[in-house]
Point group: D2
Chain length 180, copies 4
């Protein structure tokens, strides 16, 4: 049988949090790295602004990877104007926790870069659904804060900290494979 490619979500800050070009470049490299391994990049598609998640889709497409954007509400016209989205899913749910649930639930594993409340929300959903989480240290925000920490007193799973885009991709694949 054919084997479904791994679906790796890349989550991170929205443009209004004013992340640096350096952090944006890390997100793009993660998308590119996922593409190079032949796997699928899953991202949260916004309709009104850019984000680190969208940057990952850009990076994946540069390396001819498959990209899946998951958006809120209805309507398939997302912010991505360069056409880096191969498949758009309309979750029918509001942004701010609803759409994000479908997004995370559709990932085999998740990489977080920097990130505000939305990214922390996504990591917590992953934890509750037993989906492994890798965070890039030094990128600020909740990803940084959660590096190598447990998500609660149950101590079921830590957010695994790594230092580079390359490590993030290889670590999440390793974690997903070890879960099987």
């Amino acid at each position: 049988m054919n084997k479904r490619k791994l679906q790796i979500g890349v989550m991170g800050s929205a443009a209004d949090t004013e992340y640096s070009a350096e952090v944006e470049s890390i997100a793009e490299k993660i998308g590119g790295g996922i593409a190079k391994t032949g796997n699928t990049t899953v991202y949260g598609a916004e309709k009104d602004y850019d984000s680190l998640s969208t940057a990952a889709a850009r990076g994946a497409k540069k390396e001819n990877g498959l990209t899946v954007g998951i958006t809120y509400g209805k309507g398939k016209d997302v912010w991505d104007k360069e056409g880096n989205t191969d498949v758009i899913i309309c979750s029918g749910l509001e942004r701010g926790g609803g759409r994000e649930f479908v997004l995370v639930n559709s990932c085999d594993g998740l990489i977080a870069v920097s990130g505000g409340s939305g990214t922390m929300n996504e990591m917590l959903v992953a934890y509750q659904l037993n989906i492994p989480v890798v965070v890039v240290r030094g990128t600020g925000g909740w990803a940084d804060k959660m590096a190598d920490q447990y998500f609660d007193s149950r101590k079921r799973m830590k957010a695994i900290g790594v230092d580079t885009a390359e490590e993030a991709v290889s670590k999440i694949i390793e974690l997903i494979e070890s879960e099987k």
Copy 2:
């Protein structure tokens, strides 16, 4: 910019309604036809049994098309054991109307073959979301019953009846393109 491929949903009866091999073959041919036009087949992925929707994904994969399965709840192990699913989306919603809403909402257009209550549900959602619907006449069930009928007294849109798998694919593409 790159252009996103059309996302064409194929909906139809579940295996417990005991559809004929002929009707199953129509569903497979529709999937194959979508693949030949280079577009994406979206289907409702069950975890426990086959369906005409799954048959369409089989057909699409035989022609190397891209396939997206949308399933209910959580858990990515769907019924498709041959690996005809390139992307699996976990809607987080129950089957029987919830998952189906995400499924239809993610389609640019929809083709229905035969079909019980679930398929009629999907056509009605498409109608409410202004997503064009093509039905294959002579396949029985709700698809047959709705051929060339309006969905309600508002008379906004008819289910367009066609007679073959080939016509179904060309007609839905025509309808989607004319909506733009």
Copy 3:
């Protein structure tokens, strides 16, 4: 222990389908009838216009019944300006099948009056979730069309036809109780 009151949904046409004052009065009477039995009226709360479902809530409140409105998206300001809604639930899902799924899924039983595509959608969801459905004959629309019909070839459940608001309430309670 305390016994939870039955949650009876009343579904029907939206204002743009131009239902008659007579049909509206039936919907109001159904809400009033539910209230008189001490049970809870569940309705689909719109943000922009009236509906037979909203009329049922009005009727229920006139008889001091408990009313629960289920709306789409976010935001609790619904069309009901007289304050006939005791509890408002924001499903986070789009209207046109998503919100409706939460609405029907939260009912013990459902009464349909007249109705366009949305009402038929709701009856089909009820069928798929094994929630009994009563329809008022002579009110037109899908409710009328489905009276005493099976929803598909599985023949699991019929939409039970009745002729008056009073019968609708007593019949749905009987059906819910017999399911237990």
Copy 4:
């Protein structure tokens, strides 16, 4: 017009985190306090175990308050065996972020007591939806950790810390009223 009562959500740890009797008593008192003000207690209804959220519904019912439980998936038989739930809503969504979105989205304001990953998830959704959050200091978990903290670098809203159940109720009402 009638005025809808405020819908105040009480969130907190699930039974498997082994909270103390003292913390449970705080949650019960919060529910009781909401009831005494004539407002509605909204809680997350589990099907398999107790929680601080369920404890709040118990407390509310002791004071004859109105209680609304929001559960996951389908099926209305929730853990609450004493019948402290006046209205049960079946969100159709999975637990672990999906159901929780409907739960928080349906609250005018939210009080958190102790809490693991699920409670933190709920607070973050509230933040993203502009729903005020009060946390009881000294109860441990994420509620304690977030007391008087911003949820991210946007600094839009803090989790307001209080020391008692009584203060929690009066503070959340004050915050909700000031938002209007």
